[in-house]
């Protein structure tokens, strides 16, 4: 037990270390502010999203006299979102850490090692689920009309049940992570296989979450069927509902017991199963094919910039967690555009009802740019250098050349799928040429701005000593601020449109916004090449 506690503390510290701001450059007060900003974003994100959903759902359910249904529905969503966040982390933390050799040499059973890692994952999910269920519970208390005593009893039951909610997403994330590790361990191109499996899993999860929305709409029309579903396909959540609100004999205690068992048994069974195979899985993953038959025929030559860009590209597409966490938006953009093209026949009448293609262009632009803001490899590209940074600092290249290569790759990864999706929408829905061109230009400029912004954030909040790539790309402060900062920019653009930008017309607004983004990017680039170069030298 003591060994488990030590390992748990270690793994949780590794996960949380990404938020730590030591090892960066700049003034400590500013770094601290940025770090707290990242933590605030992490805290506010589930609170805000859950708050909006919970109160609107509960209001609708309350009209049908079933305010309590908010609780299981929001619990389902908590699990889905947790799973989305921790699926890749599970693969990276449990099977991809660089501490595997050390872990396997410890005089600790593999079960304890795996449990220590998975419990760290569970703790992260617990924080998220706790924050997510807080507004849901508040909404229930507001709309259910409980007495003070009933409210207190509900809170006590919630406190007893909540710690077991994250077991389900943690189990599924571990299962998914195992699947990714298992598949990639059997293939020659492990990174590519990992990326493909990850994209498929992510798309399935996304499709599933869309189905939840549809199911919710459908079930709102028939509240009774909601209850039935909770005791068939969504049994853990039905038991959770009974545990929280049960009034029969036992006051929901049997339901609470069942709910805990459904969470605990698969969790520990899976951890035990993986524990028995852990050494074999890691050995297979660590095994590399070293060939000895290479014959040198000639070496291609290019300039320093092209070489650095090629190196960045190889790292990006060769690191599963990097490409999945910062490039999934590209798949979503192209997938959504292809879907919109395929559904053109059904979509056109709806668009006509909304006022035609021109009327929906701003919303489409908002969706494309919001998705683009999740594609930002630059915001962790310096941190990803880690211990290999000496190679770049030793090389006779200007920091500007290095920054250009990193920014260009990031801009291309965002601009190419965005431009592709705009082109597909243009082909399918025939917007006015100037509108389409304006949207195209704005998306390309936004990609450029995001890249430069991401690089700026990473220079201010570098994380050079992290042993796990997944943690860098998934939850380092620069990663969070890079993505949410870009989203904030999209929000400001929407505000600008609403505050009078529409008077310029769509194409005119796009031109203005593109110009503003280019100006902002130029200002940031100037800072990067000056102060940023000094920061790089000091790293």
């Amino acid at each position: 037990m003591r060994k488990l506690w030590v390992l748990l503390k270690l793994n949780f510290r590794v996960m949380m270390q990404a938020f730590s701001l030591r090892g960066g450059a700049g003034k400590s007060r500013r770094k601290a502010a940025s770090g707290f900003g990242a933590l605030a974003v992490m805290t506010l994100f589930p609170l805000y999203l859950s708050g909006v959903c919970s109160f609107s759902f509960t209001e609708m359910f309350a009209e049908h006299g079933a305010a309590e249904l908010t609780l299981p529905i929001m619990a389902v969503l908590a699990c889905v979102v947790s799973l989305m966040f921790t699926l890749m982390a599970a693969s990276g933390l449990v099977f991809g850490g660089r501490d595997s050799d050390l872990m396997l040499t410890l005089p600790v059973p593999a079960f304890t090692v795996v449990l220590g890692k998975v419990l760290a994952l569970y703790l992260e999910n617990l924080i998220f689920c706790g924050l997510w269920m807080l507004p849901a519970s508040a909404a229930y208390l507001v709309y259910a009309g409980l007495s003070a005593g009933q409210g207190a009893l509900f809170c006590a039951r919630l406190a007893a049940a909540l710690p077991f909610l994250p077991l389900l997403p943690s189990t599924l994330a571990l299962l998914g992570g195992w699947g990714i590790a298992y598949a990639s361990g059997r293939m020659r191109h492990k990174a590519a296989v990992g990326a493909i499996v990850g994209v498929i899993a992510g798309m399935a999860l996304l499709a599933g979450s869309m189905q939840i929305n549809r199911t919710l709409e459908m079930l709102l029309r028939n509240v009774d069927s909601v209850r039935q579903n909770l005791y068939t396909a969504l049994l853990p959540f039905g038991l959770l509902l009974d545990a929280l609100t049960g009034t029969g004999p036992g006051f929901g205690l049997p339901a609470l017991g069942g709910y805990i068992l459904i969470g605990l048994v698969p969790f520990f069974a899976l951890v035990w199963g993986i524990g028995t195979q852990y050494q074999r899985i890691l050995s297979r993953l660590a095994g590399h094919t070293l060939r000895g038959d290479y014959k040198l025929h000639g070496v291609k030559a290019s300039g320093a910039f092209a070489a650095l860009l090629r190196k960045e590209s190889r790292r990006y597409f060769g690191t599963t967690s990097y490409v999945l966490n910062t490039g999934f938006g590209a798949v979503m953009l192209l997938g959504a555009a292809v879907y919109a093209l395929a559904m053109r026949g059904q979509a056109l009448p709806m668009i006509a009802a909304l006022g035609g293609v021109r009327a929906v262009m701003p919303l489409t632009l908002l969706a494309v740019c919001a998705t683009q803001s999740t594609i930002n490899p630059a915001c962790v590209s310096l941190s990803m250098e880690g211990k290999t940074l000496w190679l770049l600092k030793e090389a006779p290249v200007l920091p500007r050349t290095l920054f250009s290569a990193k920014a260009l790759l990031s801009a291309l990864v965002s601009a190419v799928p965005a431009a592709g999706s705009v082109a597909l929408l243009w082909a399918g829905y025939a917007p006015a040429p100037w509108d389409a061109l304006g949207m195209l230009a704005l998306c390309v400029c936004f990609a450029g701005f995001s890249a430069v912004f991401g690089l700026t954030v990473n220079l201010l909040l570098p994380r050079m000593d992290c042993d796990n790539d997944t943690i860098i790309v998934k939850q380092s402060a620069s990663s969070l601020i890079g993505v949410f900062g870009s989203m904030l920019t999209v929000g400001l653009g929407a505000l600008l449109w609403a505050a009078g930008g529409r008077a310029l017309g769509f194409a005119g607004f796009c031109a203005l916004a593109a110009a503003l983004l280019l100006l902002a990017a130029a200002a940031l680039w100037r800072w990067i090449c000056g102060r940023g170069a000094q920061i790089l030298q000091a790293l």
Partner: protein, 241 residues
Amino acid sequence: MLQIDHFSKTYPGGKKAVDDLSLTVNAGEIMGFIGHNGAGKTTTLRCVAGILNFTEGEISVDGHSVKTQPIAAKQITAFLPDNPDLYEFLTGIQYLALIADLYNIPKEARAQRIQKYADAFELTGALGSAIGSYSHGMKQKLAVISALMRTPKLLILDEPFVGLDPQAAFVLKGFLHELCGAGGAVIFSTHVLEVAEKLCSRIAIIQRGKLVKIGETAAVVGDESLEQVFLELAREGGTHA
């Protein structure tokens, strides 16, 4: 070739790693840089290579200031750290091509040099495999090849023989002599005093960031062994080697 004048390096937090160090490495020389753990050897070598910044003193390579003309200085310098972390997602040949591109090595010359050094270190057959699949010694060999193929005027090596098998160490010593014969200079740190004594034309000993002895190897060693000299200096300085 290498001129270090009154160089000091203080780390954030106030720890002075190197204090007023001055030394010269001339063309054709192999200088051994010796000191106990934490004496300031690696800090000095990393500052010479342009990896660490510094504010006090001046370092120049073939007349190019590391501080004010870093690109020109780096272009003629090669640095090999004690534990080279390389890009594991690249193959050996991709890594060498990257270095060749960064150092503007002509297309014809790069293949010829890679062939020469990779054959000598018996690594040619593995160049098509990912660096992630290499053993520690193979990574060390690849890093040595990438340093030598630049034909640097100044070669900086931090514990170069750690991880190399005896044959590769022998080959490396041969190439160091070849480089010096062609007018280059080598400075390397090591804890293997026998190697330093046999290989180096000059020796510099550093203690607690200060240079305590420098000169021709024969003059430094005198009638004793380098190990005895080093231990005596350590005792006088109140440190344990």
